[in-house]
Symmetry: C2
Subunit: 642 residues, 2 copies
Amino acid sequence: MNRLKAKINDVFWSKYDALVRDVVIPYQRDALNDNVADADPSHAIRNFRIAAGEEEGEFYGMVFQDSDVAKWLEAVAYSLENHPDPELEKEADEIIDLIGRAQQEDGYLNTYYIINGLENRWTNLKECHELYCAGHMIEAAVAYYNVTGKRKLLDIVCKFADHIDTVFGPEEDKLKGYSGHQEIELALIKLFRATKNKTYLDLAKYFLDERGKRPYYFDIEWEKRGKTEHWPGHRRRGPEYDQSHLPVREQSQAVGHSVRAVYMYAAMVDVAMETGDEKLLEACRRLWNNIVYKRMYITGAIGSQAHGEAFSFDYDLPNDTVYAETCAAIGLVFFANRMLEVEPKGEYGDVMERALYNGVISGMSLDGKRFFYVNPLEVNPEACAKNGNMEHVKPVRQKWFACACCPPNIARLLASLGHYIYGVKDNTIYTHLYIGNNTEVEMDGIKVGLTQKTNYPWNGKVSIDINLDGSKDFGLGLRIPGWCSDAKVSVNGQQIDIAGVIVDSYAIITRSWQDGDRIEVDLPMEPVRMRSNPLVRANVGRVAIQNGPIVYCLEEVDNGPNLQTLVLPKDAALVVSFQEDLLDRVNVITAKGERVKEEDWGKELYMANPCTQYEPADLTFVPYYAWVNREPGEMTVWVWEK
Amino acid sequence: MNRLKAKINDVFWSKYDALVRDVVIPYQRDALNDNVADADPSHAIRNFRIAAGEEEGEFYGMVFQDSDVAKWLEAVAYSLENHPDPELEKEADEIIDLIGRAQQEDGYLNTYYIINGLENRWTNLKECHELYCAGHMIEAAVAYYNVTGKRKLLDIVCKFADHIDTVFGPEEDKLKGYSGHQEIELALIKLFRATKNKTYLDLAKYFLDERGKRPYYFDIEWEKRGKTEHWPGHRRRGPEYDQSHLPVREQSQAVGHSVRAVYMYAAMVDVAMETGDEKLLEACRRLWNNIVYKRMYITGAIGSQAHGEAFSFDYDLPNDTVYAETCAAIGLVFFANRMLEVEPKGEYGDVMERALYNGVISGMSLDGKRFFYVNPLEVNPEACAKNGNMEHVKPVRQKWFACACCPPNIARLLASLGHYIYGVKDNTIYTHLYIGNNTEVEMDGIKVGLTQKTNYPWNGKVSIDINLDGSKDFGLGLRIPGWCSDAKVSVNGQQIDIAGVIVDSYAIITRSWQDGDRIEVDLPMEPVRMRSNPLVRANVGRVAIQNGPIVYCLEEVDNGPNLQTLVLPKDAALVVSFQEDLLDRVNVITAKGERVKEEDWGKELYMANPCTQYEPADLTFVPYYAWVNREPGEMTVWVWEK
């Protein structure tokens, strides 16, 4: 399936689009230039200046600091696509020029090693993220080239990729390595698609194919460099940590560092698509199923533990000690989006939607200035401060991070969201996401314009207007979300019996479309109580409220402290009201709940039955993604039911 | 209150007494001598030989390895008290001789520093446990002296304590330090009581008084020794970790490393008793209340987190990530026992009983050969292996530990249990624990013999026969456990109205007792559902089954996997049956429960309501302390109620 790109004009997402442009990109530029007060310094731009020999100084920051610049550039590219901005483009061009000046004669480009000694490059692929940084720079270059047509950064990364191709490969004199943090693989596919140079596809495939071979490459390089470690203790994380425990085609379980995992799975789908490698695709399907049916939070977050920022095991989904890195949810969107390119199945769209509206955007404050790395589903601020198991969980979003992977990652995804709405395959235009937008696609040489309008996710009414010169036979696939059981579709006011045309949760309406045709989709939204599989220990006895794609939570600011003392009676009505003035406009859900009467307990810690009494309590649920944009406090997604 | 010592002859505890004698002491002797196959080596005895110059070699083991020998000797002393054993006594004497040969001229005694360089002694009190090891050796010496009358070890430790007194104190040329791990304080009180030498009481008080002063002593010594660390990273644990954050008299919350905490609180009670320091006693009461009403598990375990093996905060009592070190529960018994010496209040006895019958003996297997360091209340073996938050939790007891503090600690407590049953104060003999035993006490010059018989904890019927020459006026205080609401007491078959004579949960029967009088106590036991205070997040919606002092649990071996899918209906009867052949004879509790029908779920991870169906399931509860003495598997104390 080919992706379309659409211009977003949406009640929900246009705000994010504007935020990225007006706040996040300038803010992150300031951060990269160390101009944000009271935040961890970045030093990322200075590293390039030092590497270019234009400034004295030492490398500072994470070994992968370069990638923050790359992700920012990528976000800028997508933003320019939506909103041309000569001033911003000039800034980007200047940074690209700087990057070019830092690049070495042979094409090598990584400020950490340029500054600290090129003799050590490619000696610690496990820990030092050289190929990861290269990947991000390539992604930025492709995006910038696609949007602006400017080749400068593309040429820089082609030269770098060509250099990498001289270092890694099956030939005897080359290293048989691969990146400790996957990213270059999916980047090389993009570079291949932009340049049509098959070397890059072959190199991506090579990196995937080497992974999981024995002896373990990271042991070999460790011996070779004299058994040093960049991060002491890092080595004891075994091959599962970086998904090198098995050849990729033999993997069935999502293990290890969750961002690495989903970046790799996304690249596996890409390579499978480009090469027709069915065995690779089967592995992607198995890994997808393992994540989505056994290792994913209801928010679309993944990564159950801080140890190794990793998956743990099937159905292990603790809400409070969770990792749920913003980047991992973003990576799941990448994976889902690529699976959709392979085959239009509703479940891919459902998961993409679930992650986007919940676990991804929860990573950024509504003002675009603060970020979560970790996105817990249950928070008690006192526990974050006083119980080491929650040490990694911050009860409020942070300005910037020493390890700043998430903020620019969320920016580049939001800025490119227009690429995720539609796909075209076999004479059918598939609508994966319901987001107000307009786009144009050529079907057999005929330009077809689509204008989508909706108040999604606040209600499920969507209209799509078709604009074309005359008429054209083609299919229009409409994703019927998994949460919706009674979807209705009409064309020009005429309801269609969709039961017969639903294939893999897409209603496919094939007809001769005329200019001015209007499709109306009605996806009735009602708040529902979601339960999780009883094998999920953390959620026994609890429900989560979901309305359409939006997962809700209780916050202390609305419901008082000790959220665990609140219960939602089974028969309590869930009442939706749209609040113009709250949290940038949201649907709030209220219910008549109950609260355990604490006073009956006095000072006792344990008492014999019976002793739990309840009193009425009004419950207010707000969208999870918007939590802690007011007073900090407790939060929970899963609520006790009675 | 003065403690009595009783000879145990009990259906429940005599087995432990025999185990300590026949299994634990020989096993631990073998361990200390590195003669246990497949277990972590100890090297503790060899360290003494090397320190004595009788063997070549290096120090091996933890910096506090000496304390394992001391705790073993202390256990041997108590065991000899119960069961004279010339062979064992000879072995102990030989080790004591060895210890004497390792002692330095000036009295110093610590194999780590003797072997590695005496010039570094007393330079790292925060991390290196010199005073802690000294404390355990003193405790062993006092016990050995009290039981055998032999002064050799007592003389050794007096010489060592005198040396310590030359090093620490208010005088200008002395160090103003104190131990990073409290223990010497309570040991010095014992030494004071054994020798009547007030120097030792003053030194104990000095160590308590210095604690919490600013500047922080551990910063001073760190600067002085050139900012080195014994355990890299240890230093970032702030003063709360070792309870040096405030002067002890100003402390109100149980914080930091839980073993250090309760050892210190126990010493604080001792010093308060000896000096009449009311302010110190008030701090003990506050700390007691904080633990018992806000920071204690239902098993009497303490220490909610592995990070720092520490308390966390009020009502934070996670069941699966818990630390609950065996030594901490033992330390809570010490603290409770000393509070009882100050004032006979039932709540002290209740907590002592709760810890003893649950969180302490859970630390040892029924065969006395394997031990838990961590005593979780909920275990999923897969989580222990695959989720880093449970890395410290072992799903089966271990043979020995690199850090072997718990096994000898449990041995010395069990061997000395006869000291915990009674106390005498103001012409009243208080019965704190119901354990079959006989003892003798002098009341005003008249010898009174007491013979207690009971099947406790399997039922609550207790008889106490009085044996004396003629008659004697005195009080007999009988603890009415908190779990018992309808206790009955009769004397010579005549029921007594105890309502009027209960003071602080002790029924006090004062009369002229005659030889042959028989007191019968009936404490009807019925299994009850315990709930925890709703502020305890981990236990919302769940109950724990308790019968008398025994807390129960569900094990996978009886109930199948996925214990979280089991529910106990509110109206389900709890049926007790005594099982002769199970787990060394226990009361088992069964109930007609239900189980979530998993098959309704298929592969779904999340579904909209309604979707939880139940099927009948027989539930079998066994005593918590006896868990995983059969097949390893899941376990939970807290069970879902419906």
